[in-house]
Every structure is written in C-alpha cells, then in structure tokens.
Amino acid sequence: MYPIEVQNVTKRFGEIVAVNNVSFNVRKGEIFSLLGPNGAGKTTLVNIITCQLNPDGGTCKVFGMDVTKKQKEIKRLIGFCPQEIVLYDFLSARENLKFFADLYNLPSKEAKTRIEEMLSLVGLSSRADDKIRTYSGGMKRRLNIAAAFLHDPQILILDEPTTGLDPSSRRAIWDLITTFKEEGKTVLMSTHYMDEAESLSNRVAIMDQGKIIALDTPKKLKKMLEEKSAIQLECRKLTKKAVEELSKISTTHKVAVKENLIRIVVKDVDETLPKAIEIALKNGAWIEKAIVLEPTLEDVFIKLTGKTLEGE
C-alpha cells in the first residue's frame, strides 16, 4: 500500500482538461515532486489528493483510503501548504499557529511546544507576537509552510512552497522538508523550480498540459538526454540575429533564452563551444561569460515539450 496512489485520474473544468488520465504512486519515505509550468495541472492534482476536488474519472487513494469516501481519516494524516498564503492577518504568527493546532486537535501542551519549535525552525521566533499584516511576503510564506508541519502529519503536501522566497529561506525550507523525510514520512510537492525538484526530490514527475510526460529520479531523467552538456553564454548584449543563428547549432534541442542568457544543449561540447562563440560574436552579441554545465531537468523538459518551464 502506497501513501498516495493516483490511478487514471482526470479532472475537467468545462472545456479545459486540467488533469488528463494521470497515474502514479508516491512511496513511503520519499520526496516526490510534480514539476511543470503554469497551468500544467499541479494544483488541481494536489486538490484532488487533499479531498478538495472530486476527480471526474479514475481513483485516488491515500494509505489505501479513497479520497472521495474517507475524507475525515485522510485529512488527519495530511499536512497541507496551499499555493496561496492563507492566514489571518489580524493574528500574530503564534496565534495563527495556535488556530491550526486547534483545527488538528493538538493537546494544548503539545501544541505549545510544537508552535515554538516551528516558529524557530522557520526563523520567526523574534517576530512571533507581531500581527502578520506587518510581515514581509517571505515571512508570511514561511509561516504558511510552518502550519503544514504543525500536527506532525504522515504525509506532507506542499503546493509550490518556496515561490517568492529568497535563496537562504528556500534552503531553510528545503532542510525542513528533508528532515521530515528522514523521519520516514512522505512528501508530495509541486514546483516549477527545476533546481528545487532536482536537489530535493527522490523522484520527479514532469507535468505539462494535464499529463505526466516523464517520471523518474532526477538522475535517470537527465540520462534520457543524449546531449551531455549545456553551453551557457551570458552576454552584455544579445541580438536577435545571434539567437537565430545559435538556434541552428542543435537540430535536436531548442535553445533556451532568458533575458541576456542563452543556453544550448549539445552532444559534443569540444566541437560546439568555439563555434557557438564565433557565431555569437559575428552576429553582434557581446559575451561576458561562457560556461559549460551539466544538463538540468529543465533541459529535459525542453527536450520533451519544446518549451521552457517559464513557458514561452
């Protein structure tokens, strides 16, 4: 019996098929990520698993219990962090957590120690009694996540938990999630950060347009690529013409452009690197830095969909 079993689940909103015949199992003690761009259907899937939406087709089970039937039992086992910040802004951090402790019927004494513990883990102890309307976005988000951990659930379900956090806060949250996993518990999270999926997850399901298009460990997913290197040119100026010409280098893989940064995934780096620099310079680009990296999950995503994760 898996902590989470999803079988042929489909969910429609009118014409839109938000989740399209999706199947996967999440194993006990792993961190499982749903990686996909905006609108891929991650939140919809998460909402089905947390009993907020009934699927139109297929079945979804949590510890063997059907999400449409054993809701009360399932809800006890899950700690959930929604994509939006959902807190009372007229309450302090401590009061908000007390409210969540009450919802999960934590005994007062236990609630007290857990609240203090969580506040310190997300670095909010010193501001714990301030109304959260005075908090920064990142502070609120950290509290939003802390609420999911509070009742020490069996399964954590986090919908894009680290969106909008600075790097050090993200790392703190990652540590929190990893510690949780190391206690033998299960995590399902959605994200559109490929580095988050890659460095945190045991397995990643890549989602696009309601479907899971690949599912494996990050390592194996990257092995899918025959291209073994990624050339990244950071330019002070990147011309349209340069992008156009550089795109012709790889016939199998689309180049990714982010502002003044262009990324080309290639099989034979020794041969391609000088060629790429030459083409760039010839077409008016000013290169500041040229680096050779390993391909990432985003490159896998591009390979599979022809789009970047930011969508374009």
Partner: protein
C-alpha cells in the same frame, strides 16, 4: 471540539481587532442609547402641564369655590397654573405652546357647586401636538373626576346628617351606598398594571428596541460576513482540508456571533441603567426570545452569504435590509405610528415580533399566558428561516 473553539476565538479576535466592527458592535448602540435617551428620555408620558386658568366666577364665598379648585390643581405635580385675565391672550399662549391647556371657570361655578347643581369647566386644548394634547386632556379629566369625587363624598356626608335611613327601610350603610350609586352609577377603576404602562418613559420603551436594532444591524452583517470573509480569505477552504468539518465551522461562527450580540445587549442594558436608571423586568423566557432573535439574524445572514460571492456584496445586502427594515419593526418609534400599509413590512419581519415580545416582558410585564402563543408563532417563522440558511450554507460548503 478544539476546532470549534479555535474558530470561535478567531471570530472574536476578528471583531475586537477591527475598529470598524467595534464601532457597529459597541459604539453605535451606545450612541443611539445615549442620544435618544437624552433627547426624549426625560419625557415620561406623565409630564407637568402648564395650565392657563381664567376665573370668571364672582360667586365664590363658600368653602367650595373656583379659587380653591385652582389651588388644588396647583398643589399636584401634574399642573402648574397661571391665572389669566383674558381669553385672547390665553389662546395665543396656547398656540405658542407656552401653556398646554386653558381652563375657564364660568360665572356661577362656585354657587352651582354649593347648591348641589352641576358646575362646568370649559377647556381648550391645542391638538397641534396630538400626543401631548391627549395626555393633557386625560390628565385634566382625571383631576376633575378626583375632585368631583371629593365633592360627592362631602355632599353625601352632609345629606346623611339630615336624613333618617329608617324611613326608607334601609340601614345607615345601605342608604349611603344607595346615595353613592346615585352620584356615581359606574366607577371606573384602573388596574395598577395600566398605570405602570402609562408611566413608561421613551427611553424605557427604547431599550428593547435598541436590543432589536443590534440584531438587525450588527447581527445581520456579522452573520452575513462570517462565512463570506473566511471564503474570501481562503481560510474556509483551508479549514475544510483539516479534520474540522463544515458543521463545526458553522457552530464556532454561530457561537461567535451570539457572543458578540450578547456583549452589545449587555452594554445597552447597562448604559441605560447607569445613565437613565432604566429598570427592566427580567424573566428566564427573555433568554429564549433573545436566542430566537439571534437565530433569525444568523439564518438570514447565512442565506445572504450563500447567494453572494464576496464580503462586500454580503455586507451590502445585509446593511440594505437593515437600513430599510429599521423603520418598520418598532425600534425608534411605535409601529402604530406608521400607515397600515407600511406596518405590513414590520409584520413579515420576525425581528419585529421578538422585539415586541421583549418589550412586553421587560416593560409591560405582560403575563406569560399572553406571551407564549405569540412566542410560538414567532418561533414558527424563525425556525424555517434558520433551517433554510443552514441548508444553503451546507450546499455552498461543498464548493468552498
């Protein structure tokens, strides 16, 4: 259990940390009580009347004359008498509101009295202020009646001295009773209860009304926005992801709303007692009536929140209903002042009836036997409203 407590506490904190909420919950009823109390409060329905007296009687010499009558009028708390020489001036002052009524003692007033004939007093009352005019007329009439009775007593005592009842085959007592029957065929005795209700001051009358106003304004808005605000914030959904179900949410919220209403009711009662010495009659059944009124507000609030999509819309509808109905349900003035057609608006609104019942118990001390049928009828209107609200809420909770 803890979930309900948590929801209840958060509802109270939401209220007591929002200046806007606090205004409607505490400041507004306080303001209405004090304002209306000071403007109208002192005026009980038994006020001191200013009387213009014109004495045209020259026949006075005996023990009983117009001057004596005027003096005894002045001797009561009810009248202050000013003697006038001429009617034109008196009428002018009556029109100007300087006096409340004019009494004219015509020629022969005293001699008629002493010779056992009927004396007349002519009175003028200005009906520009009908309520005050009515009070003036009734008070004067009451006084004249009391005075007449005193004369009757003296006359009968006088006659008894000279008549031998035995010649009529009667005992002394029988004959005296017979004489009283002559003088006063029908004696109207007012019960103490009626006297009490005549003495009700405006502010006393108002207090149950202001309590009703809390149910209408605060109760309705609080109930209509209780669920909407959780929904808008996303917390409704997040609560439902926890093991706490929609019934617990409803229960916790209802407790919060009821607590808030209880606070404002206590405030109104305390302030009206402290500032205007309003003393109400208490009976355990008041709790039941009060609770029904709360259910009514919660029911309507739930209906509003399930047909609206935002807090703004919900509070907009709730305050529109309150703004309209406040004039029809007998909060600020008796509903009888309204044209019959408009009274219907009050009739159909259950809060009118809970307010009436509260007033009947708290002020008029109406016996329970009269109240219970009315209460049952009112409950029969409120319970379906509440149930509809609950059913709509439950349906809406399926798509949080």
């Amino acid at each position: 259990m803890k979930g309900i407590k948590g929801i209840f506490i958060v509802h109270l904190k939401a209220t007591y940390r929002s200046p806007g909420e606090l205004f409607w919950l505490l400041a507004w009823p306080l303001l209405i009580t004090i304002l209306f109390g000071y403007i109208f409060g002192g005026q009980s329905f038994q006020f001191n009347l200013k009387v213009a007296a014109i004495n045209l009687d020259q026949t006075g010499s005996s023990a009983m004359n117009a001057t004596l009558f005027i003096q005894s009028m002045n001797g009561t708390d009810m009248f202050t008498v000013y003697e006038y020489e001429n009617l034109t001036r008196a009428i002018q002052d009556l029109k100007d509101g300087k006096v409340d009524l004019i009494t004219i003692f015509p020629e022969g007033f005293s001699s008629n009295l002493t010779s056992g004939k009927t004396s007349r007093i002519i009175t003028y009352i200005d009906y520009a202020n009908p309520q005050r005019a009515e009070v003036a007329r009734a008070t004067l009439q009451g006084f004249v009646q009391a005075f007449s009775e005193e004369i009757q007593r003296q006359s009968i005592a006088y006659i008894m001295q000279y008549v031998n009842p035995a010649s009529f085959n009667m005992s002394q007592g029988e004959f005296e009773a017979y004489m009283w029957g002559f003088a006063k065929p029908i004696n109207l005795t007012e019960s103490t209860e009626q006297i009490k209700s005549r003495e009700v001051s405006y502010i006393e009358w108002m207090v149950p009304g202001i309590i009703g106003m809390n149910f209408l304004w605060y109760g309705l808005i609080d109930a209509a926005t209780a669920i909407s605000s959780e929904r808008e914030r996303g917390t409704f959904r997040r609560i439902l992801i926890s093991p706490v179900g929609p019934w617990s949410v409803l229960f916790g919220k209802a407790l919060g709303i009821i607590t808030n209403l209880l606070v404002s009711t206590c405030l109104v009662v305390a302030v009206s007692y402290a500032v205007f010495s309003v003393e109400l009659s208490w009976h355990p059944i008041i709790a039941l009536v009060w609770f029904l009124a709360a259910l009514n507000s919660i029911g309507i609030g739930l209906i509003i929140s399930s047909v609206t999509k935002s807090v703004r819309a919900a509070s907009g509808i709730a305050s529109t209903i309150a703004a309209i109905f406040q004039f029809f349900i007998g909060i600020y003035f008796p509903r009888e002042f309204l044209p019959t057609a408009l009274q219907v608006f009050g009739d159909i609104f259950p809060l009118t009836h809970t307010t009436e019942i509260l007033r009947a118990i708290m002020i008029r001390e109406t016996p329970l036997t009269q109240i219970i049928p009315y209460l049952l009828q009112t409950a029969a209107a409120i319970i379906p409203i509440f149930l509809v609200g609950v059913i709509l809420y439950k349906m809406a909770a399926k798509r949080p």
